[in-house]
Symmetry: C3
Subunit: 263 residues, 3 copies
């Protein structure tokens, strides 16, 4: 038996008759596609994935009769192996995931988003277009991540100011083009402004204004992003990052460097 | 082929004739149940799981003849997809796991416990009743987590004071109702007292007394839990947390608020 | 159907005719072995694994005709369940992995290496012989980890000094016998010297010289490894660690204690 063929559903995959699979879709070995799932044209679903995972109320109500919320995977997406996408998730065209990603119900995800290996999206959250989550990012419920933001490995977005509680949950907002470096924890209700930068391993306990750099535990504002210099002298200006980095974005979606380079 | 039906073993699952499966058990697609496993009545095992994973000595001894240690999954549990539970694990009734949890041999787990996505339980450890581990908690061997404790994402319990070594391993003890916030590392041998609270991203290098708050790297005692105030003014008292949070526990298991609210 | 038998390919596994499987190899249930993979003699591949995962260019070029890069798993290895090894990876004899490990293309891995559960190796990296990665270690592209190094849970090796960029990537180098404790982040281009020790939760922003201890955020040099004392009085000397720890290494590969114990 072949292990993989583009544009084909592997014979070991189990695809519900109640799922809608577009043209030229690939579904890998040992993947499971539940009823109510729509997979857009030319999407590639890796092996050992689950699309349309039932939400917890299924077990609580002993399989009661409400149909599952729909799960829509955008066209031309690549969903890598062992990923679980719940019922009640919508993703735009061109999603790319790493391996073993979890996306829970109530997640709305824009176009051209990349979500790295082991990321854990807890649901009831919004992610804009062209966002990049590197490996193992934890995104709590009620988070908002706007277009073009970057979140690096092991970043955690929280939502509970005095856990456990449920009266005071506040999500984190990461604005357009903001960069959250590796290992950062963002406390509940924090907003990180447009084009802002948070340094590695920081604990962010207060809002970070647009175009500012924050660093430390607790994080302090250390300057403007325009003043970050290249450690190796290779770049004249580093931030806002689209002045020097444009790889992997569709033609025309990033702003011109001159429009964002700053004062 | 159906993708899932409550109370049924999916036709693609591989269940050993040497396993005991209770009444009304669900086993998902592509799951593997080894000999020696007992699954309690009405348990739901997700897809792509492994129950009764062989311990390392199997490979060291080239498949020698000792039977596997038993693996017991309590009744009415929900074990989500891609989870691996080793031979030599016992879990109480009503376990709920997220996805891709690992529970190694020698783990004894009480009733009503929840273990989040990506948690990694290294075995030879004890977890009491109604404990909550959020996502991606790492629990070293020799850890003890008592009833009603909460551990948040990316918490790490260690056991080796000068790694690598094997003469001086000491587990961490988290006492009843204690709360360990996101990203905390607990050094070997530490005890966190009953109803204590450790703040986000702390490195805990000394014991935390009962009902105290610890914070920072290294963590310092900053006050009593009764004095933590609600950031949003919505709650009169926040800790000990059962004074304001009771969702998800069976009737009658939590103490009355008046019995724990403190001096 | 049996769930597992040493030396056998499980009937549910899908193994390409274009893969080469050695003598006495075990392949677990629901595993997928792509064309171009070579599995060495007596290797044990767990269930739900993927060997020879296609690299991203496959999707970009719509299945173009270049054959996949080879993927070689060394003899007598144990690769545990849900692990993904890409095309373009070479591992030496005696590799042992935990569960859900990811090893991407361009990784060259020596003999006798252990890689814990959830580790994420981003590819284009080199790992020497007898290296130990504990759980959930993130290794960026261009990293070099030399023989006998130890990396503990949730360590992150980075490579981008001002993310996102691609002109200035610099990998981290961890030299022979170095120990990186739990939760440490190593910034791009850092070298941690031979026999050095980095304490828990540190952020390493400058090189750590051989046989020195570094600690904190940012990490400071706090002394010589020979001067670290055993917290429990059980060991006369703790570091360099081979003076007191030798479990799990083949006969003769570790240096004599007297040759490394220091001045």
């Amino acid at each position: 038996m072949d292990t993989f063929e583009l544009g084909r559903i592997h014979p070991t995959a189990v695809v519900s008759a109640g799922a809608q699979v577009g043209q030229d879709v690939t579904i890998g070995a040992f993947s499971l596609v539940h009823p109510g799932v729509e997979v857009g044209d030319a999407a590639v679903i890796g092996s050992h994935c689950v699309l349309g995972e039932p939400t917890a109320d299924l077990y609580a109500t002993a399989g009661a009769t409400t149909p599952p919320r729909p799960c829509h995977i955008g066209e031309a997406s690549v969903v890598r192996s062992h990923t679980v996408v719940y019922a009640g998730v919508t993703t735009g065209a061109g999603l790319q995931t790493g391996h073993r990603v979890t996306i829970r119900e109530g997640s709305e995800i824009g176009e051209g988003v990349r979500i790295g290996t082991l990321c854990d999206l807890q649901g009831d959250l919004r992610i804009g277009d062209h966002v990049r989550l590197h490996s193992n990012v934890h995104v709590a419920q009620h988070s908002i991540i706007e277009d073009f933001a970057w979140l690096y490995p092991q970043v955690v977005l929280t939502n509970d100011p005095h856990p456990p509680s449920d009266t005071c949950l506040r999500g984190v907002t990461v604005r357009r083009f903001a960069v959250i470096s590796v290992g950062v924890v963002l406390l509940p209700g924090i907003t990180v402004g447009e084009h802002a930068l948070v340094g590695a391993n920081s604990l962010v306990t207060a809002d970070v204004p647009a175009r500012m750099v924050a660093l430390g535990s607790p994080a302090r504002i250390t300057g403007r992003v325009e003043d970050v210099s290249c450690r190796h002298g290779a770049l004249e200006q580093v931030y806002p990052w689209p002045v020097q980095f444009r790889r992997g974005y569709p033609e025309g979606v990033l702003p011109d460097a001159s429009d964002i380079s700053g004062p």
